[in-house]
């Protein structure tokens, strides 16, 4: 987003707003704000329409931030038209790469009209999660934005490589050293070991797995968006009886020995249960997982207390997150004798 800002500045444009659909990744508004932009949310009905963008797009809009496929697991099928529209009115399009693993070998964001995109190496290129980090987020840009890339970049001269920091239009440094280098090496190794066919196969199996879970659970859990899912499927808890909610389902899954999926995100779905199996789960594992969820849906009808009390088989019982936030204890202190 800094690059987008720098590009506009170089054109002599003074634009203050960034459009963000409600299905974009959760961190996008904060990123836009940190780059000095005012955020304008756009409502979408699952898939963003060109009309909705056209209505919000004016000469004060610097960029549109989209996530494709979006956080509902749906392909933004109007993306070409939307990119052309934003470009025709002098804006740029940023794409959040959180869901790129649905598209490898299927389509390329650059061909769709995206100007800037970041990649989550731990989500798409198999770098270790490490209990929450380190992540790494390299960015790709169009040739037009290349002068604005952060410093330094590596250039090849003949047979040798060197670091280039003499780039006057760059947005500047974003790390003091060479960033998350060790993570980049891991992702590079993954891409080399997969090749084009392996990456495409991983995408296909990730999409197959999500659709398989969808087919097995549809009918037992409410599916708010019926469009064809890509790598993830989102259910809602509105059909669950007896005051059972998504949180209860997640905690009950722990008792069955499964790591629950992401819950209560995206915000556009009430009580969202976002299931993203990825390519690495076998049919057997998915069947066991779905059987557990089906059993839980049944328990919600007949023995709702099993959900409300869960977990009973985990390392701890349900932890009091409200207490943690109301009376924060963020470090150990020696108890007074």
């Amino acid at each position: 987003m800094l690059m987008i800002h720098a590009w506009h500045q170089a054109q002599g444009n003074k634009r203050h707003k960034v459009l963000i659909p409600d299905t974009a990744h959760g961190t996008n508004p904060a990123t836009a704000a940190l780059c000095g932009y005012e955020v304008v949310p756009i409502a979408s009905d699952g898939v963003l329409s060109a009309e909705a963008v056209a209505a919000a797009m004016d000469n004060d809009v610097a960029a549109l931030m989209v996530t494709n496929p979006n956080t509902l697991g749906l392909f933004e099928s109007n993306i070409r038209e939307i990119c052309e529209l934003v470009h025709s009115r002098g804006g740029l399009v940023y794409c959040d790469g959180a869901n790129l693993n649905a598209l490898l070998g299927i389509c390329r964001p650059g061909d769709l009209g995206i100007d800037v995109m970041h990649f989550n190496l731990h989500k798409t290129f198999a770098t270790p999660h490490g209990g929450g980090g380190p992540g790494a987020g390299p960015v790709g840009v169009t040739a037009e934005l290349e002068p604005f890339l952060p410093l330094p970049i590596i250039v090849k001269e003949g047979e040798t490589y060197r670091l280039d920091s003499d780039r006057p239009e760059s947005v500047g440094r974003l790390r003091a050293f060479a960033s998350q280098f060790g993570i980049l090496i891991r992702a590079h190794a993954y891409v080399l070991s997969m090749g084009a066919q392996g990456l495409k196969k991983a995408t296909e199996l990730a999409v197959l797995n999500a659709n398989y879970v969808r087919a097995r659970l549809e009918g037992s859990y409410h599916l708010p968006y019926k469009e064809r899912s890509l790598h993830e499927v989102i259910f809602s808890d509105i059909d669950l009886p007896n005051n059972c909610h998504t949180l209860d389902v997640a905690k009950r899954l722990l008792d069955y020995g499964f790591h629950p999926p992401t819950i209560y995100f995206p915000l556009v779905v009430q009580g969202a249960l976002m299931i993203e199996p990825t390519e690495t789960e076998s049919q057997l594992a998915l069947d066991e997982f779905c059987d557990a969820l089906l059993a839980i849906a049944e328990e919600a009808k007949t023995h709702p207390e099993l959900l409300h009390q869960a977990p009973v088989n985990a390392r701890t019982r349900r932890l009091d997150e409200t207490l943690a936030a109301r009376k924060p204890k963020l470090r150990w202190v020696r108890r007074e004798a």
Binding site: R173, G182, S282, L323, K329, L330
Partner: protein
């Protein structure tokens, strides 16, 4: 080919249940004009053995290896990594674990991060630390943003010239479109931030004063005096610690009046790895707790009253507060923070000061030896830790080049960043530099001067 567990049979049975014929049908939501009609332009998949050979050859093209003597610091430090660390973090419970959003099954990760927060507080003399940030430099930039938020209408920030140049550049990048005025505070002749200049520059518009501790030139700043000046004018005192091992020897910034302490934890068990991943830390006083950016782990109880840990105070974060969040960072350095916890636990409260004193004595001894060489001098008189500046009789770049022939990386050439220091060379000494290395550096410097 990596782990893709599906057999053809399984694929067909799954497709049948879904109710489509081919995998391609699952992509029907993607319009034809968005599709790639050919393969991605990548080579054939490499077998593991070929991949390993390829990466080994690339690594071998880097000439410097462990047989060289290295005196490079400047924000990233070559310290010994205890063997236990690799073993412990390679356990899948830490290495491949998902973000601990489900605390009941993530107590290991959460407790390790809680211990990290505690250790950072103890080390910095502060009251609350977060679960880590990308690196020391971005932690510094986040701290400046935080000071601006807390300082409400204040829009100026004073950066000491002694603050790491990379940190200063990052702060400039982060605030470039936020209407913030950055001002540089010069150094005095002893290498420390100029208090008179600070007094002159401080006014009701200044949100923060930022210095290094030790600063980039290896000098230990007088935080107490600087903090006093900052506070008198209503600004926050930000202290950046690029070499936290120094806190095993010198008084903690918290004790000296710092409001926000940020730093780089790489010294504590992480490899140099060409500059990353490292681990940034940030610690504040209780009053600023709710303005902290980044993840936080807190202690709570479960339904049975048993103690446990959870991610907490999420109302500061971007999923909930959207554009009003304290930062856009949505992860921490995870396993790198766990490394720091393990390292500090291994050294303990006696081991850390012992190692710090060891670094200090090696550096002081070497500084004395070099100062005695003809033509070399130490421009700064203020106390140092494990790093110091030498003024050389020839341009530093020439000296560095000459010593490279003897497989010595003698230090960092300061000419570009600090032209005011005549032929400045920044030399760092850690426990990795034994007596033989120190002697050969002195001999090599002497040889050229003669």
């Amino acid at each position: 080919m990596r782990y893709l567990p599906h057999s053809d049979q399984e694929i067909s049975s799954m497709l049948e249940l879904i109710g489509v014929e081919k995998i391609e049908d699952l992509f029907s939501g993607i319009p034809a004009d968005c599709r790639l009609t050919r393969s991605l332009d990548l080579g054939a998949p490499l077998a593991e053995a070929d991949l390993q050979r390829h990466l080994q050859l690339l690594a071998a093209a880097n000439q410097v290896d462990d047989s060289w003597s290295r005196f490079l610091g400047g924000g990233y430090y070559d310290h010994h990594i205890p063997a236990a660390i690799d073993h412990l973090i390679s356990r899948s419970e830490f290495y491949t674990a998902y973000t601990p959003y489900q605390p009941e099954i993530s107590q290991g990760t959460l407790q390790a991060i809680f211990e990290f927060q505690t250790l950072i507080c103890q080390l910095t003399g502060m009251e609350v630390a977060n679960a880590s940030l990308y690196d020391g430099a971005s932690a510094c930039a986040e701290a400046v943003l935080m000071a601006l938020r807390c300082g409400r209408k204040r829009s100026k920030v004073l950066l000491s010239r002694g603050l790491h140049p990379g940190y200063r550049e990052l702060v400039a990048t982060y605030v470039r479109y936020l209407g913030v005025e950055l001002m540089e505070v010069p150094l005095t002749a002893d290498g420390r931030t100029d208090c008179t200049a600070v007094e002159r520059l401080l006014d009701a518009e200044v949100a923060a004063l930022v210095t290094g501790y030790p600063n980039y030139l290896g000098v230990v700043e007088d935080i107490e005096t600087l903090a006093g000046l900052a506070h008198a004018s209503g600004a926050r005192m930000l202290v950046a610690v690029a070499e936290p091992l120094a806190l095993g020897l010198y008084r903690s910034p918290g004790e000296l009046g710092a409001d926000i302490v940020i730093g780089e934890g790489q010294s504590f068990g992480l490899p140099l790895s060409y500059g990353g991943p490292g681990v940034g830390f940030m610690a504040v006083k209780q009053k600023d707790m709710r303005s902290l950016p980044g993840r936080l782990v807190g202690e709570t109880v479960d339904g049975d009253g048993q103690c446990g840990y959870v991610l907490t105070l999420a109302t500061r974060e971007q999923h909930i507060r959207r554009e009003k969040a304290t930062s856009n960072i949505c992860s921490n350095q995870g396993i790198c923070a766990v490394v720091v916890s393990i390292y500090l636990a291994l050294l303990g409260k006696n081991g850390l000061p012992q190692l710090a004193r060891d670094n200090y004595s090696r550096a002081s001894w070497l500084a004395g030896e070099i100062a005695a060489l003809s033509g070399f001098s130490l421009p700064f008189s203020a106390p140092i830790f494990n790093e110091f500046v030498v003024s050389c009789p020839q341009p530093s770049s020439e000296i560095l080049q000459r010593l490279e022939q003897e497989q010595i990386l003698a230090g960092i050439d300061l000419t570009a960043d600090y032209p005011e220091i005549k032929n400045g060379l920044l030399i760092c000494v850690t426990e990795q530099n034994d007596r033989k290395q120190l002697d050969s550096l002195v001999a090599a410097l002497k040889g050229g001067a003669a």
